[in-house]
């Protein structure tokens, strides 16, 4: 993460739309009297959503005014959380996970795709369609490598399907959310399961099978005891012969 500063070019003003304004009032009312400041994150979040997913200075000030806070308090929040974009982002804002599991599964290649297609981090492509940012773990390690584009996760990426995904998004074609390799959520890929492969799991024949194991154990214990008894008898007999 780098030092986060407000963008140089800022809009003149910001005002919540009437719907968002009403929503914000409801949100503020959730907190007890004197604790309204706690509503700052939802409000900033909504302001960002309203403003093409980035948070301009007038929005920070408007939210601070709504909550009766010094501006610096709102700026502290806006610069603390990486989820607030302080500069314009592309129509499709790609947050590419670069944390260990994704990195091991090829996130570096995806970064190269981004760099080649879009440019450096936080750079908005010329058509305004894309910008990207490497982020910390987004918690979808089962489907590594992955990226969040706007509000959705796109998983099991590789340079090919990621490139196609970006093409489709740019062209406005419908895309599939989630895994891009046909996996169902985070289930194993078809035919590659390593556990739960026993067919009996699914036909009911395993029900109560745990008892068999114990019956088996009992028989083994009995035969072992009999063996030991036999050995002792043999030892006693040979002692008698020696004497």
């Amino acid at each position: 993460m780098t030092v986060r500063r407000l963008a140089e070019k800022q809009p003149e003003s910001f005002a919540f739309t009437p719907e968002n304004e009403a929503w914000a009032k409801k949100e503020i009312a959730k907190y007890p009297a004197g604790r309204q400041a706690s509503a700052i994150i939802p409000l900033l979040w909504r302001a960002q959503a309203q403003n093409d997913y980035w948070l301009p200075r007038p929005a920070i000030e408007a939210v601070a005014d709504m909550l009766g806070l010094p501006y610096i308090r709102a700026l502290e929040i806006a610069t603390f959380y990486a989820m607030f974009n302080l500069a314009p982002v592309g129509r499709y804002f790609i947050q590419l996970c670069g944390t260990t599991p994704c990195m091991l599964r090829g996130a570096e290649d995806l970064k190269k795709v981004c760099r080649d297609r879009i440019g450096g981090q936080s750079h908005v492509s010329a058509d305004g369609a894309f910008s990207w940012l490497e982020v910390e773990c987004l918690g979808a390690c089962c489907n590594a490598p992955m990226a969040q584009i706007n509000d959705d996760y796109y998983e099991d990426l590789n340079p090919e399907n990621f490139g196609k995904l970006l093409d489709d998004l740019a062209a406005g074609r419908p895309v599939k959310k989630g895994s891009q390799t046909g996996r169902k959520t985070s289930e194993p890929e078809p035919g590659k399961a390593t556990t739960l492969t026993d067919g009996r799991l699914y036909d009911g024949s395993l029900v109560g099978s745990w008892k068999e194991r114990f019956a088996d154990d009992k028989a083994k214990a009995e035969s072992a005891a009999a063996e030991a008894e036999k050995a002792r008898a043999a030892a006693a007999a040979s002692a008698v012969v020696k004497n």
Binding site: V3, L6, I72, R73, L75, E76, T79, F80
Partner: protein
């Protein structure tokens, strides 16, 4: 009370204590950066680590761990804490190593050097070499106002400044943006701080990240003489320390005085320093052909003596200003008495307070510390934030504790706490006469000079006294009837009886004309009509000197030993830290010399003799740091004097930064004033 064993010493402390406080109780010194007694607990510097037996097997931050959180031993033994074990030492050394990773090694060029907490504590817990070979973090310096310079590479993120502006000052100017390695302390987008107490953050800063800007690279702490003294910029009489090098006052710092200023001082008190060197009157002047020209003492004295001799006593008057010490006024009072004049007044702002109504009628009777007991405060014709910022911080402190009701009659202003606005003028006050007593134990009035300096001031004072009666502001064991003065000399003058005698004229009517000779002792806020021969004695070339026909060079408050009585009636003595410039002399000595030339020799040859005479006439001045309380019964006797006007109250202090001649001579104060005015304009647009 809870028993603790700290380094083998058994102590008994209340359960709400933190371990740090308990350790200090046991005599163990705990290093700290972020912890400060008067701020909330942050617990983020980790320097105060101690070992707690029976607790988690890791060092504990003693500032953030409460005594009540400790568990006793298996057989009920008291909890055991160590502050000097190898584990503690190693832990603190680790913390120090982390702090120093990003701290520049620029102590030789850092103004904090010599009085730096980090430097001092590194002597005890620092290691001699670094294990960190990467680049240090670099942070841009921020503009945060004309009084505090930043050097953000040095910041260790203790957040004392953030907590001070949010909690004590109440303006919330400072904040920490970003996080982790990228955390930066700054104001909102490099704007100047707006508090009148902002200079204190440079004192709070444990390293050299925030330093007083006007004193930048001027002096080292060990080069300076430190003189404990008393401030005269407002009527609180804050405890200060004047640091001088040679003859020059280098800086002014607060001293702790729990009863008055705790450990804060206002920006005016602190940064007046450059005003002490500018616009100084360093020799006598005489007006000739409409222009002032330098003159010898003898020449000036002779001119005065001739004029005084030619005038009848009824046409001679004296006005004392806002910064005069009691001794100076006493000498002038004696001199005027010898001349047979009753025209003396120390109230150049025209306040209608009178010593004849009893001391309770012009004191802050509840005392400043009494604010912390109050549960309702009505502020009348007063903006405490501008008239006494440190007192305002005390009100805010009380307000933050909860359960305080504040009402304001007068101008609306941002006082840093919420209040109910009750009205603009005397009408709003009158509605409380006969009002049912509030459901409050310790209600308080704070009456400002904005309500009392008007022609109907006496009527308003009577009105307030009546309202105070019906609201139970004065009762057994509690006198909440408080006057907030704006001038350091005023209470001392009233105590002396430096007010018109029988048939005498007050300051405002003397200024309007009809006088032949007016002796002006440092009064720079009063207009004196043409006609009178004016002798101005003071330290700075300001309004008073411009009008004067003879100018006598006096000493500023850092250059003389003088008694001041603060708004609560506390007698305090300011000490001499430097010498007056050029030919300037201590004011009592000038008056003594002048009296000799006039043939009215004053009966003392030394300050000690003057004080002996003063204490004989007014014994309460001898009791330093004590308050001779006023008689609450006197308040009921304040007689109504005419009907109050309906005009709204106008606060006495408009521009906080330029209230006296020393402040007006200071370029730092001028810059602050311009900034504040710009803000007001911006807010109005």
């Amino acid at each position: 009370m809870t028993k603790l064993l700290i380094d083998g010493v058994e102590v008994d402390v209340p359960p709400e204590f933190t371990l740090l406080q308990a350790c200090e109780e046991a005599g163990a010194e705990i290093p700290r950066f972020c912890f400060h007694e008067r701020l909330s607990i942050a617990g983020n510097c980790r320097m105060c680590l101690v070992e707690v037996k029976g607790g988690p097997p890791k060092p504990q931050a003693s500032c953030a761990l409460g005594v009540r959180d400790l568990r006793p031993g298996p057989n009920g033994e008291p909890p055991v804490i160590f502050t000097n074990t190898p584990m503690v030492k190693k832990a603190r050394e680790g913390v120090m190593e982390f702090l120093l990773i990003n701290h520049p090694l620029d102590c030789p060029i850092c103004d904090q050097g010599g009085e730096c907490d980090l430097q001092d504590q590194a002597m005890a817990y620092g290691v001699d070499s670094t294990r960190y070979h990467e680049n240090k973090r670099a942070v841009e310096d921020k503009y945060i106002g004309p009084l505090v310079k930043t050097s953000m590479n040095r910041c260790i993120h203790c957040t004392r400044c953030v907590r001070f502006t949010a909690e004590v000052a109440g303006t919330g100017d400072m904040g920490a943006t970003g996080r982790g390695e990228d955390m930066e302390i700054a104001t909102y987008l490099a704007s100047a701080m707006t508090s009148e107490l902002q200079g204190n953050i440079a004192d709070l800063c444990p390293v050299g990240a925030l330093l007083p800007k006007p004193q930048n690279f001027r002096a080292r702490s060990w080069e300076m003489q430190k003189t404990p003294s008393i401030d005269v910029m407002d009527a609180l009489g804050c405890a200060i320390r004047v640091d001088t090098r040679g003859r020059e006052v280098m800086r002014i710092l607060p001293r702790v005085n729990e009863a008055v200023n705790e450990e804060w001082i206002s920006d005016k008190t602190r940064q007046i320093v450059d005003g002490l060197k500018k616009q100084r009157i360093d020799r006598p002047y005489l007006r000739e052909n409409g222009k002032l020209r330098p003159a010898a003492w003898r020449e000036a004295f002779d001119a005065i003596a001739a004029k005084v001799k030619a005038a009848t006593p009824q046409k001679i008057g004296a006005v004392a200003g806002d910064l005069c010490a009691v001794e100076d006024m006493f000498a002038l009072q004696l001199l005027m008495g010898k001349l047979g004049s009753a025209n003396i007044d120390c109230r150049q702002d025209g306040t209608k307070l009178d010593c004849r109504s009893g001391r309770a009628s012009y004191l802050f009777n509840s005392t400043i510390a009494g604010i912390e007991q109050a549960d309702a405060i009505m502020i009348i014709g007063c903006n405490p934030r501008k008239e006494a910022p440190v007192l305002n911080a005390r009100i805010r402190k009380r307000w933050l504790q909860g359960g305080l009701l504040v009402g304001v009659i007068g101008e609306k202003a941002d006082l840093t706490y919420d209040y109910n606005y009750l009205g603009a003028g005397a009408d709003a006050l009158a509605q409380f006469i006969g009002h049912a007593p509030p459901n409050k134990q310790k209600p308080m009035f704070i009456i400002g000079q904005g309500a009392l300096t008007r022609p109907d001031g006496a009527a308003i004072l009577a009105l307030a006294a009546k309202a105070a009666g019906s609201l139970n502001v004065v009762k057994d064991g509690w006198n909440g009837f408080n006057i907030l003065h704006t001038a350091a000399a005023r209470v001392g003058g009233l105590d002396l009886g430096f007010t018109p005698g029988e048939g005498g004229m007050d300051a405002l009517s003397m200024g309007k004309g009809g006088m032949d000779v007016i002796f002006n002792l440092g009064a720079d806020e009063i207009d004196i009509a043409p006609g009178a021969f004016v002798i101005y004695q003071g330290s700075h070339g300001d309004k008073g000197a411009h009008r004067a026909d003879v100018v006598l060079p006096g000493a500023a408050y850092t250059e003389k030993s003088g008694t001041y009585v603060n708004t609560e009636g506390r007698v305090q003595m300011a000490a001499r830290a430097a010498f007056p410039p050029g030919d300037a002399r201590e004011d009592w000595a000038i008056l003594r010399a002048l009296s000799d030339v006039m043939g009215q020799r004053l009966p003392f040859d030394s300050l000690a003799a003057l004080r002996a005479a003063l204490y004989k006439a007014h014994p309460h001045f001898a009791a330093l740091n004590a308050i001779a309380a006023g008689e609450a019964a006197d308040l009921a006797k304040i007689a109504a004097a005419g009907a109050p006007d309906k005009a709204p109250f106008v606060n006495a202090v408009d521009d906080f930064y330029l209230t006296n001649p020393i402040a007006r001579a200071s370029s730092v104060m001028a810059e602050c004033s311009a900034l504040a005015k710009g803000r007001v304009q911006q807010a109005a647009e």
